[in-house]
Symmetry: C2
Subunit: 317 residues, 2 copies
């Protein structure tokens, strides 16, 4: 069982690698090789792993990485939403061209590779029904969402034609993200939990009644593994699936923080309304009806309390 992880040095790639090494097997077979590729060196902690530093948007890189052919590819590499918006050409190169070059390289492989593609709820754009059903049309309002959607559409056609065996999973916002706060407009969803747990203050730029779908990084790794093992004969025609999530308001996030870490933790959150951030966030989806993913056995965190506990167990040092 050969595995390739693109974006292997990223937060999700590192967590996926750790879980794969703990399990030792995938799809009923022993994992013998894991190749990781990213623009920077991925940290390695096993002799079955090889880290490659490469830009997949350059012709020839993907071909080299899929020789010998991987049995499973986790395609996580992406320029994030904010950067794809400020640097359109970079987003197109990494999120679209690299995806297509990878898909083309896999098409030429002698085996039918299971491709697990990390898509995003950014493929949806307001106005929405609440909840958003599985058959609602994606109309992205960012270049990131546009590029992720194109990847989904290509994945579906490459799979329909038998070039590979793909599954796209639309991830909700991952929280609680470990590490330093980032510049993403969604960053506060994690920082209002993470910073207080670390004894630090955190700014809340939106009203507390804002509702949003969340998954822990641990649940996201679970989605990726389940997608890798799923029997695609069940799919028929829909290769891209919105993942289940915990849909909570900011107030409910903070109540969970108080239950898990005590009510003092919540006093470290400063309400400082930022109209620019608030306006962006009101255009995001708040809730999904994930009938198809549920029927296929994808499982979200049970509650936002569990999402906080996952952070404490996996990332709080």
């Amino acid at each position: 069982m050969r595995i390739l992880i693109t974006g292997g040095a990223g937060m999700l790639g590192r967590k996926l690698l750790r879980r794969l090494l703990e399990r030792g097997h995938l799809r009923g077979e022993q994992i013998t090789n894991i190749d990781l590729v990213d623009l920077v060196q991925a940290p390695l902690n096993s002799e079955i792993c090889t880290a490659h530093v490469a830009d997949l948007s350059c012709r020839g890189e993907a071909e080299a990485l899929v020789d010998p052919a991987p049995d499973v590819v986790f395609h996580l590499a992406a320029v994030v939403s904010a950067e794809a918006e400020t640097d359109f050409d970079k987003g197109m190169a990494v999120n679209l061209d690299a995806t297509r070059l990878l898909f083309e390289a896999l098409r030429r492989c002698p085996v039918s590779t299971r491709v697990v593609y990390a898509s995003s709820i950014a493929v949806f754009g307001a106005p929405f029904p609440d909840p958003i059903p599985d058959d609602f049309h994606p109309t992205p309002l960012t270049s990131y969402g546009t590029q992720k959607l194109i990847g989904e559409v290509l994945l579906a056609d490459y799979s329909r034609r038998g070039f590979f065996d793909g599954i796209g999973i639309r991830l909700p916002t991952l929280s609680v993200r470990p590490g330093a706060p980032n510049a993403a407009a969604s960053g506060f969803f994690s920082s209002i939990i993470r910073e207080p747990l670390n004894g630090l203050p955190a700014d809340l730029p939106v009203l507390r009644n804002i509702r949003h779908p969340h998954a822990s990084p641990r649940a996201a790794v679970g989605f990726l593994l389940h997608a890798a093992e799923l029997d695609t004969a069940q799919f028929v025609r829909h290769r891209n699936l919105t993942m289940p999530a915990v849909s909570v308001t900011v107030a409910e996030q903070i109540e969970a923080l108080s239950r898990v870490a005590g009510s003092e933790a919540a006093t470290l959150i400063n309400d400082c309304f930022d109209p620019a951030v608030a306006e962006i966030v009101t255009r995001w989806p708040s809730r999904f009806e994930t009938t198809r993913a549920n029927a296929l056995g994808f499982v979200a965190d049970e509650s936002y309390d569990d999402i906080i506990q996952a952070y404490i167990k996996d990332d709080l040092h």
Copy 2:
């Protein structure tokens, strides 16, 4: 007013050109130049027209065509459904790469060009509700539909970013198509009308209860012109619109033929059920609820009788 028509030598491009020359103006301005581009020489009948023979999927061709910058582009060039299915790489090159290269060239233009993009109801794939509403998710089941959908998604993002001012129109099946029967699975929708009107027999490979959406080529030209003149400020976020159509069963098509041309015409139709064609056709949409396009003033033919009359007037010699 400079106009560029890609696919200018095709059936729809030629009819569009004729209508533009009859009108003499577009968007309230006199038409001074019409550039046509296609893989073959477009027939010319006016000194304001220039025909270019070029392959838009080759780098540099689109840049040359948009210098000086056109005010309106009608992007009709495409590899048709059957060919995009048998020759995947050609479909990707013409339907996807050429579209992206054209969009990139227009992005670099000093003016904000109105881009009218001919998309297709092939972006939809079964299973469907009946009728299909405007917010139903597109899940194409052909490479042609996949490529057209990617063009739509790019058009929306390029327009959102202000690179140009685009509108995508999803055309239903065009009937009655002039000329010889073609190999397309949908060809019989036209030939069962066209051949009897020309005194020739025609094969009907599906059951007469099959329902399908139709527009005359004349109505399709009307959609293109309306899209060129529309005030896009009304659109807000949805740049891609399913066009209204006349949804009729094959039996209703044949009844219309009898009304227009006499009952003997219909005796030239031979029911010869072809399970392969019938199976393809049952996966096609039969009816749409085109609320958005209707509200924006797009107008379908009034009846299938009118569709036949348009063929007789415009194409029957």
